[in-house]
């Protein structure tokens, strides 16, 4: 196989896409190959860079695979205890109301141990953005069942497949949160195709704008893959999520603020 050697600048080609120059650090991401976290990190930091708000944005990282988010996002960040990111973000926003504040959480963090914080932060209509990565599994601890694990889905703690009798139903937390009056914007996105990534960026831009306009809590859920936990290749995982997760977690806007 011969690889094509090319020097784009020399050939007069214009750079049309480059990774964020400043808001994404040089640190190599620790995520497994093909993991959606890396895409969401990049898109978030593209927005912070393009809106020129690096000095106005504060992030809160959870416990979970993205516990090291602050190694990659070149903004002021706080590391929260498992499940408490939205409580931490609440205080940061209350004390710095003119800043953009987002919490970044996985499904275990936001919808299991942190359910009370998630619901009450949203119910208070805190003006923060909750970025919620739903890959239906606990990745960091090695692939255990999460609240959003699908029925019949095998994980290390539902080896025979999740059953209702043992573990109840997959939790549709975003739909629940959308019911709360304090919540302005709830949307479910994904990063498994180029177009999905474009839509995610648009959704996040909306969320940042709604936060600036003090419309209330915004929740952007990203249905994402977990190649290691699901024991699939990245490509297979992206196909699997479209076929298996979308029926229960359909992408699209769940709640949009009346302008």
């Amino acid at each position: 196989m011969d690889t094509v050697q090319v020097d784009p600048i020399a050939e007069g080609l214009e750079c049309v896409y480059a990774r964020p120059a400043d808001t994404l650090t040089e640190t190599r991401l620790h995520y497994c190959p093909g993991c959606g976290h890396g895409v969401v990190h990049r898109v978030l930091m593209e927005i912070v860079e393009e809106l020129g708000i690096q000095d106005q944005t504060i992030g809160v990282a959870p416990v979970g695979c993205s516990v090291f988010a602050y190694h990659y996002m070149n903004i002021d960040m706080q590391e929260a205890a498992h499940g408490r990111a939205s409580a931490v973000a609440t205080a940061v926003k209350r004390l710095h109301p003119d800043r953009y504040v987002f919490s970044y959480q996985g499904d275990g963090d936001l919808a299991a141990i942190g359910t009370a914080e998630t619901i009450h932060t949203a119910n208070r209509g805190e003006n923060i953005l909750m970025v919620f990565i739903n890959n239906a599994i606990y990745g960091m601890t090695g692939g255990q069942m999460a609240p959003t694990t699908l029925l019949g889905m095998k994980t290390s703690t539902s080896p025979g497949g999740r059953t209702i009798e043992t573990s109840g139903y997959p939790l549709k937390i975003s739909e629940m949160i959308a019911l709360l009056p304090g919540v302005a914007y709830v949307t479910r996105q994904s990063v498994h195709t180029p177009n999905a990534v474009r839509h995610l960026k648009k959704a996040l831009l909306h969320a940042f704008r709604y936060q600036k306009e003090k419309k209330g809590t915004c929740l952007v859920e990203v249905v994402s893959n977990c190649p290691s936990g699901w024991k699939m290749t990245p490509g297979e995982a992206n196909e699997w999520l479209e076929k298996n997760m979308f029926p229960l977690y359909p992408p699209g806007d769940i709640k949009v603020p009346h302008s």
Binding site: E11, A18, K201, K202, G235, N238
Partner: protein, 97 residues
């Protein structure tokens, strides 16, 4: 079709091949060589890239920089610019703009 190209950071790539699968032109493939992390990194294997940015969008490790021929001749190409936002209709009424 516009002419385009990509550069890839060999050491950052984890060989997840999502870019290979996202490329409509099948310009990319995983190299038989491995980087220092032991991953088969992605490389350009065909010179038919159109600079559509698909690969860079799905890349979890921000490995890819994309270039495209600028149809409007005579315009001075700007070295590095990230314009993915440009084709987003959302306008930010931010005084910083």
């Amino acid at each position: 079709m516009a002419r385009g190209s990509v550069t890839l950071s060999i050491e950052t790539c984890k060989g997840c091949s999502l870019c290979v699968e996202a490329c409509p032109q099948e310009s990319l493939a995983l190299s038989p060589e491995i980087n220092t992390q032991g991953y088969h990194y992605a490389v350009l294997v065909k010179d038919n890239c159109t600079g559509c940015i698909n690969c860079a969008l799905v890349c979890p490790d921000a490995v890819i920089t994309v270039y495209r021929e600028n149809k409007k001749k005579g315009k001075v190409p700007v070295a590095t610019i990230s314009n993915v936002a440009r084709d987003i209709s959302v306008t930010i009424d931010d005084e910083r703009k």
